[in-house]
Symmetry: C2
Subunit: 234 residues, 2 copies
């Protein structure tokens, strides 16, 4: 499906990203509470997997860093499986230097500081435990403001309200070149499905795409990225 979507956009055999390296994150992270419990974000990983495959389809050498998902590793991509946000950051760093970083994963903002090695037992009559949270590393910001910085850094923003305003604030705060915003409210319904509606927010403004399949978004986004690398905007 991604091959079809790319074929519709490019002449056959066109490989504008040949010789380029890319790293893509996808899926949720799972932050352990104890050996049997964890905190997670909802994310099927489909959009990130499709983007990794689309970049590879344009000739890029792609490392996909995937949180826990139920998807097969995409063909032609080197996939690294991780669970926690800290592991995801380490795997992204290990893939550097790259030309392109597309951070699609729904990384947990917080981990449980008090992760215990034994299962927390429920005891009748006792108060329920409370979880002390600690802030996770901000993978997008770390990569966009660190060295060696990829030439092009894109992040995703899943929002339930004020989608574009939040994405614009995120663009500045993270130091990214592009934020792809999706509305994950019940009405937007990107989460878990095969279709998505996105808004591309960058220094030049906002471009809203009509609803399309995640494969088609991936193919178009890979094309946008290839053009930006050829002719960077000021």
């Amino acid at each position: 499906e991604i091959a079809d979507a790319l074929a519709a956009l490019l002449s056959p055999g066109e490989k504008p990203l040949a010789g380029r390296r890319a790293v893509v994150t996808a899926g949720p992270t799972h932050e352990p509470i104890d050996p049997v419990r964890y905190i997670a974000n909802r994310s099927s990983g489909r959009q990130g997997f499709a983007i990794a495959e689309a970049l590879a389809g344009l000739g890029a050498d792609v490392t996909l860093v995937a949180g826990p998902v139920s998807l097969a590793d995409p063909p032609g991509v080197s996939t690294v499986h991780v669970e926690r946000a800290e592991e995801m950051l380490a795997a992204v760093r290990a893939a550097l230097p790259v030309d392109i970083a597309v951070m699609v994963a729904a990384v947990a903002d917080w981990r449980v500081e008090s992760d215990t090695p034994q299962k927390i037992k429920k005891r009748e009559g006792e108060a329920v435990p409370s979880l002390t949270l600690a802030e996770n590393p901000d993978i997008l910001k770390t990569i966009a403001t660190g060295t060696p910085r990829p030439a092009f850094v894109a992040g995703f923003a899943a929002e339930t309200e004020h989608v574009i305003e939040h994405a614009r604030a995120k663009l500045a705060r993270k130091g990214a070149d592009l934020i792809v915003a999706n509305d994950v409210s019940a009405e937007g319904g990107a989460m878990g499905g095969v279709r998505n509606t996105v808004h591309l927010v960058d220094a030049n403004g906002t471009q809203s795409w009509p609803e399309m399949s995640k494969a088609e978004i991936a193919a178009r986004l890979a094309e946008v990225i290839a053009k930006r690398l050829d002719a960077p905007t000021t």
Copy 2:
């Protein structure tokens, strides 16, 4: 594989559970924190799905109440999909009256009391949020001590230490007829895999089975249940 495991134990066409009704729970529950985050238990659902299929293979009319899993609905079983513990309990209650209840799901002990309709935003410089937890309904105990009570109620216990002692305490506390205990410590390693090592704990004592596939455990357990229903122990 389950059909094979059953065939090895029984004469062809033997349906000792024909005319019996059963409800089985399987998988984790997901307890929402906000629209994009949740607390979950690790559980593939494989053992519960195999038990539902094995009971159906012995002729029972089986309702499987499944939390979020990546498994196909088992053939010959009526499967109801739920997310939260409260939804799981409601679906189990809706399946009553039954002769057999096998509660295999890894139900979250706690839900987040402060589940918010909008995504909780991370704000730099602000303290991390804390989660107020509330105790979830105890599905096994509710069914084992409620009316109409199934003739045979079995529960599963996933433990990382003192496996049999915890299972024996659970048997009494929940009012169940049988607890199937599995060691989910890193060394035990039942979680997510296709094999399992279990201990059957009931009023008569403890029976430890050698490591075998989850399908074989399901077939043997279905046979144990069929025998108990024919000749209840005192």
